[in-house]
Amino acid sequence: MTLMTEGKRKNKRTIPGFGLTMGFTLLYLTIIVLIPLSMVFLNTFSMGFQEFWATITEPRVVASYKLSFMTALTAAFVNAVFGVLIAWVLTRYEFPGKRIIDGLVDLPFALPTAVAGITLTTLYSPNGWIGQFFSFKIAFTPVGIIIALIFIGLPFVVRMVQPVLENIEKGMEEASASLGANRMQTFIKIIFPELIPAILTGFALSFARALGEYGSVVFIAGNMPFKTEISPLIIMTKLEQYDYEGATAVAAVMLVITFLILFTINVLQWWTGKRYSGK
């Protein structure tokens, strides 16, 4: 109806009613995201600040944050590099079986993480198919954790970068080449800047997913305190002791740090987008 009143609205919108859709968006986000997340904080309020602080700064817990963030960052970084490479191959070349490989990329999404964890542990344990060829231990060390996290995070980068690569016009590359740039220069100066926001998003998503990952990691980690104990496992161990507050306290810390990191990446993304789009 509002669409018909002329003069009041300049743009015609496909879905009617900004108020209605915005209202729905807020309600939906509140029920699905905000209320569950606020429970994490509300639950911690029942413990005093001192107790809260003691819980979240316990050496074992701190060691687990470090491990969780370091492995998640490493895995996201590896995915950012190799995800771009895979996306590149999938968009720029034609070869038999391309559709199948393209489909394979999504497999880590669909697979239950526990299955991934068990499979990877079997492969990388000292007597496993792959593990036996290495002189050092992979499963039950942080290296094993990183491998599991690379596995579950791979699709994010590929699926973010792929459409952008597809949309880059060939003409730009040709122009760059005709102006005398070699292939490396063309990639670094023309293509890469276009990809940065997509890579950052893929990196952020892969990182966030890795941080919260529990299912695939508990099998391959070995779960040794101070060495291979991830924060989600600490949360689980607290729950096993019926320590709801302690568990949510650790969860709250994870939530805050994750939020800060994602926020930083978003700012970076906004900044690079602005800088390279020339607006």
Partner: protein, 343 residues
């Protein structure tokens, strides 16, 4: 705040229950069919499959009622939490008395004296902790001291997440106390050495078995006796063998009727009969066949060859009950954490 969380899980649980139980019948003793939910821990899956069948037959003969029993298995602590958060279990059969105590404390779904209501501490069958080693015992492991040798690698689950692992820990502790004549510093040192030899801390008993058997990691698995026998049955006694330590612990996985749930569902009579049936000859036989030590002397005598004679301490006798053991050893800041503090 806890209330809100409990409520939301209750609502969720109701939704799920309503979804799959459209024809729920109330078992007030008159209805023709009745349904029970037995919330249990991991390694009892095989035991209760067999037992439920036997009980259903028995109950049909005795009361003419058809009874179907749903089983829910998982880590003991996790199962306890599910009941606290609103999973409507008629009976709980968990790995430790502590997990049932926690249900009483957190939700008051059953009375404090639950453990006194059935014979033998409400524990119809027991088990103990033994070692599983590779065939012919290449590292020559005979007792707990052998586990702290430098070149021995040990597999046991994490006592923070696994009920079974807590039995393992306490059994080792009991050995050390005897060996070092209650010198606490030496006992802790022993435990520290033992856990330094642990290569992987799985989150549950089954996971630890997998690590040892399938991944081939470690020289010795500290395991429930029934789990060890099950492994032999599953993977062959030509590959593994069981070593009985000189001293171990009497592992008592207790059972209880959840009062508030059976009152609401009207299943009190059948739930009580269900647990009591565990103590009958038939129930004891099934337990023994599944490698649990039966309480009944007669049945135990019949299966005597199956169970080695091990000197066993009890949690109540040695550690002052589960509540105390949990606080001293396994809660945050307890001795287990102490063992894992960096120097």
């Amino acid at each position: 705040m806890k209330k809100l969380m409990v409520w939301s899980s209750v609502i969720l649980a109701f939704g799920i229950l309503a979804g799959c139980n459209s024809e729920k019948t109330e078992g007030d003793g008159k209805a023709k069919t009745v349904e029970l939910l037995n919330v249990s821990y991991d390694p009892t899956r095989e035991l209760y499959q067999e037992f439920n069948e036997a009980f259903a037959k028995h109950w049909k003969e005795e009361s003419g009622q058809d009874v179907t029993i749903q089983q829910s298995h998982g880590g003991s602590g996790k199962q306890g939490r599910a009941v606290i958060d609103g999973l409507e279990a008629d009976v709980v059969t968990l790995a430790l008395a502590y997990d049932i105590d926690a249900i009483h404390e957190a939700s008051n779904l059953l009375a404090e004296d639950w453990q006194k209501r059935l014979p033998e501490n409400s524990t119809p069958y027991t088990s103990t902790i033994v070692f599983l080693v590779k065939k012919d015992n290449p590292k020559g492991i005979k007792d707990w001291d052998d586990l702290i040798k430098k070149d021995v690698s040990v597999i046991t689950p994490n006592p923070k997440t696994s009920g079974g692992a807590r039995w393992n820990y306490l059994a080792a502790w009991a050995f050390a106390e005897k060996k070092y004549d209650n010198d606490e510093a030496k006992v802790k040192d022993f435990m520290k050495k033992l856990y330094q030899n642990v290569e992987v801390l799985d989150s549950g008993a089954r996971g630890a078995t997998t690590t040892f058997v399938e991944r081939g990691i470690g020289d010795v698995l500290i395991a429930w006796e029934n789990e060890a026998y099950l492994t032999l049955k599953e993977f062959g006694d030509d590959k593994y063998e069981i070593v009985n330590p000189s001293i171990s612990i009497l592992a008592e996985p207790p059972v209880a009727v959840v009062d508030e749930v059976v009152k609401k569902k009207g299943t009190k009579k059948v739930a009580e009969a269900y647990l009591k049936y565990l103590y009958t000859d038939a129930g004891q036989e099934i337990a023994a066949k599944n490698f649990y030590r039966p309480r009944d002397e007669k049945v135990l005598a019949k299966y005597q060859d199956q169970f080695a004679d091990i000197d066993m301490v009890t949690v109540d006798g040695k550690f002052g009950g589960w509540k105390k053991a949990q606080e001293t050893h396994f809660n945050d800041g307890g001795t287990f954490d102490e063992i894992y503090q960096p120097k």
